[in-house]
Symmetry: C2
């Protein structure tokens, strides 16, 4: 009988309420920023116009995907349904939502058709109109001088945010689409994005409460998974346990990203878990596991990685690598505070990595020689971390106004931000050490670098090992950080969790 | 402590292997059909060219969605990775896959870069080339006389299948894109789709094995959910239990559609569970539950609905409505066989519904008068069922060659197929009775129809009740059907499952 048992069936912690005042505060912050930054903003009627996400279907079928709101729209309005638009008057803050007008059949298939008053009360905005009233409203007596539209480059994806687009309002009317003639409104595509980015980079107290909640449920879920791992399971069963814990106990229908559940050598594939490598390997007794999984709640992300031995007990080699990464992470967590530059933290992680791998017998020479040769990118090719918020790789890593340049140096060039830390930023700290075949081949082929490696140790003990990553989500506060994550971060803690001696995350130390 | 317990942790039934010969057979079937249907097919070099699905990201972010292959491509090639093209020579069956050429960094982030030989062995095709070799290959010595491209109308969604598109091959080269001049190949957009549809409508033995597997795991999961429901849970916890069961025990990473978990009045919203109504109501003791959930395995769907009382015991009213629907379903299952027209089955369900609702005291008059007045669409506004395969609402409901017209009659016009049943078709049988406010208002306002309803019974006992649906997936076989689904379908079975007396689906009768 393949039956699930849930003895604590109704002992759930209900998901937190996210107050609509959080979104009102986000809007106020944006307006205040725009008034400060844009000359003559006070003399003109500037209107921010945003377009929410639309329904999506699988290819040509009628299988509708579960809708997840677009992050920019979620930030300002908190609307969970597709097909909305929203506007904010920059001077007054007056906020209008435009909702889709639904056909009568909707009531049968999708549920009661709610009137604008329902959404006005639910989203606590000044007014709700229908999308089909948008053009007449903005072209009529309320006509703004300029529309501010959200266009700008996402420096993680290389994609561009899609600005709101309404025929007759932001673009000319197509021929034959009604008598309502006239030019579209003046549109400013350049003033909004960077300010909105800065608003999102600095999290409010209300946003931090949501981020703490989703981190709590994800920390719980990681712990539950660790307690249940046994050799003989498949990687995707761990993914399934995590997804279930987050949804069943925490109301998290989405995750912030595809779960990475790598065992053994798979842990060395940084974004393992995609459709071409779908977490489908059998877990063996001697494997290290690397689980990078984060729930999402009301579009806010978490991003946590735990690494541990499938057997529940570290082998000496597993212990060595784990403690290297732990030292890297702890050093950064201790140093991180307002005023430090993120690339310096990355450098610190690399330096500690060199020290520890030297001590562990894998590297040779001196720390200075190793840093000078920049050997660490062969073991940790990714950046130390990234901003996190509505997107798991959140916006604002390299804002043009700061003139930051991405380093061209190996390893450092993958940093997702070059910024100096400020209070209210939320960032991941996720050092790792991996044994990636293609990089090891390159390392071993380099006559200068191979001198710094004990090749026998590398080839006989560590090639095929996989990797270790430890990832926490922290908020920058006065004088330091507050850690949103609570996970097993020492050898002793990991073994105690897996032996059932530590039963919940509250029994783990809260170091930061 | 919010901990999951899984005492049967490793007692999993491993997912079945899907042999690549299934896809080879699908291709052979298509080629044979095309040779039969297209005049001069044998004299010409006709080449089917298909484009697989592409990677997708959340809006402008770098959060990659889990890739799910496009169904047409999945049918012919079984490729699970994004970015492929495929071609089939109609006369010889010679099959080429075109794989994306991946950058060197891929090895670090996504895993080992596999050569064409790897995919050739994995997908058992004649040849694997790179996508960037496609144009030169097809424009060179292998040049076909005509490309057959897949364009056609999906009659469920109203969307059009996207034919393969390759610059320089199916469309002219854009200026400046290389010296390789010349016209694109002759493209036939009209001959392929309808034949491919007919191939998909008639399932092979190999496909039926996959459909049976995904039905098995979904039947198991429904049973597990029923055993664990308790008042006080939320609807989405049932969704989570189902998703987890399908993935953890069955390796089903996707579901065929968004789970519908309606309790109480929500069961009357046919497509409840979407983002605007996300299964978030608390389940109460007196509620009926309607759970419409189906796992997906290797892109093949299942689609099962169970209805039962949250308390575990039917009230008299719940029992009455349940038995109406059960009678509707059983009557159709008994009558269904090759040669019967699907609209007649829908009519039969309506007729049995009238008989039973008359007996139950909700309707008045005679069955003939009720059928003549066409009252059933007010209680069951949807069609009786739909083809199922790679899409949950599978293609082929109204192929143009058959000249079938959709009925304009209320209720009947929502039928997803008007076809006569043939061996190898897979179809859902899903009658229901619902109490939908907007439809009841319309019913009660109609002076002719209201005479046929006991209004006091309706308003005092059933408005707000929600609804009942029973949905099984069946394959049409010689002389009848084979039921792929095994679920609790009588009052006694439901109560026995919920009391723990029936522990697994094998203890339920296999009626068809
Ligand atoms: Mn991360
Ligand atoms: Mn169905």
């Amino acid at each position: 009988h393949r039956r699930l048992d849930h003895p604590t069936l109704t002992a759930t912690m209900p998901p937190i309420e996210v107050p609509m005042s959080m979104y009102a505060e986000n809007r106020q912050k944006l307006c205040a920023r725009l008034l400060e930054k844009l000359s003559n903003a006070r003399e003109k009627k500037l209107l921010v116009l945003m377009e929410g996400g639309k329904e999506e279907y699988r290819y040509d079928s009628d299988a509708e995907k579960i809708f997840r709101q677009e992050s920019w729209f979620a930030y300002l309005f908190g609307v969970k349904e597709p097909g909305f638009y929203g506007s904010i008057d920059v001077n007054t803050g007056y906020t209008t939502l435009y909702m889709p007008r639904l056909p009568a059949e909707y009531a049968v298939w999708m549920g009661r058709i709610q009137p604008p008053s329902h959404f006005q009360a639910m989203y606590e905005v000044d007014r709700v109109l229908f999308v089909d009233e948008l053009a007449a409203t903005l072209l009529g007596p309320e006509r703004p001088d300029t529309l501010l539209l959200n266009r700008g480059l996402n420096t993680d994806s290389g994609s561009t945010a899609k600005p709101a687009s309404v025929e007759g309002v932001t673009t000319p009317l197509k021929e034959g689409n009604g008598a309502q003639a006239g030019k579209p409104l003046p549109c400013d595509y350049d003033s909004l994005y960077d300010e909105l980015v800065e608003c999102r980079v600095h999290k409010s107290a209300a946003e931090l409460r949501v981020l703490q909640y989703v981190n709590d449920i994800s920390s719980d879920a990681h712990l539950a998974v660790m307690q249940q791992v046994k050799p003989g399971m498949t990687e995707y069963q761990l993914e399934s346990l995590f997804l279930h814990h987050g949804y069943y106990y925490g109301g998290c229908r989405h995750v912030a990203y595809t779960s990475i559940c790598g065992c053994g050598p798979n842990a060395a594939t940084l974004h393992y878990g995609h459709a071409g490598a779908p977490n489908d390997r059998l877990i063996r007794d001697g494997d290290m596991l690397l689980l990078d999984m984060g729930a999402e709640f009301r579009c806010y992300a978490s991003d946590i990685t735990c690494s541990f031995p499938a057997s529940g007990t570290f082998s000496p080699d597993q212990k060595m690598i784990f403690q290297v990464v732990q030292a890297m992470q702890f050093a950064v967590m201790d140093a991180l505070r307002p005023g430090v530059a993120w690339p310096d933290m990355h450098d610190l992680a690399y330096r500690v990595g060199c020290e520890m791998l030297l001590k562990g017998g894998l590297l040779k020479g001196s720390v200075e020689a190793l840093m000078e040769a920049n050997i660490m990118p062969f073991f940790m090719p990714h950046g130390l971390g990234h901003f996190m918020g509505l997107d798991v790789h959140d916006c604002g890593g390299y804002p043009p106004a700061l003139g930051l340049k991405k380093s061209e140096k190996r390893g450092y060039k993958n940093l997702r931000t070059g910024r100096v830390m400020e209070e209210g930023m939320v960032i991941t700290v996720e050092p790792g050490v991996y044994f990636i075949d293609s990089l090891l081949d390159e390392l071993v082929a380099d006559v200068r670098l191979r001198e710094l490696v004990d090749l026998e140790v590398l080839e006989t003990r560590f090639r095929g090992f996989g990797g270790v990553r430890l990832e926490d989500d922290v908020v920058i506060v006065e004088g330091g950080i507050r850690n949103l994550t609570r996970a097993a971060r020492t050898v002793e803690e990991v073994e105690a969790v897996m032996a059932g001696k530590i039963k919940c995350k509250e029994e783990l130390p809260n170091r930061w």
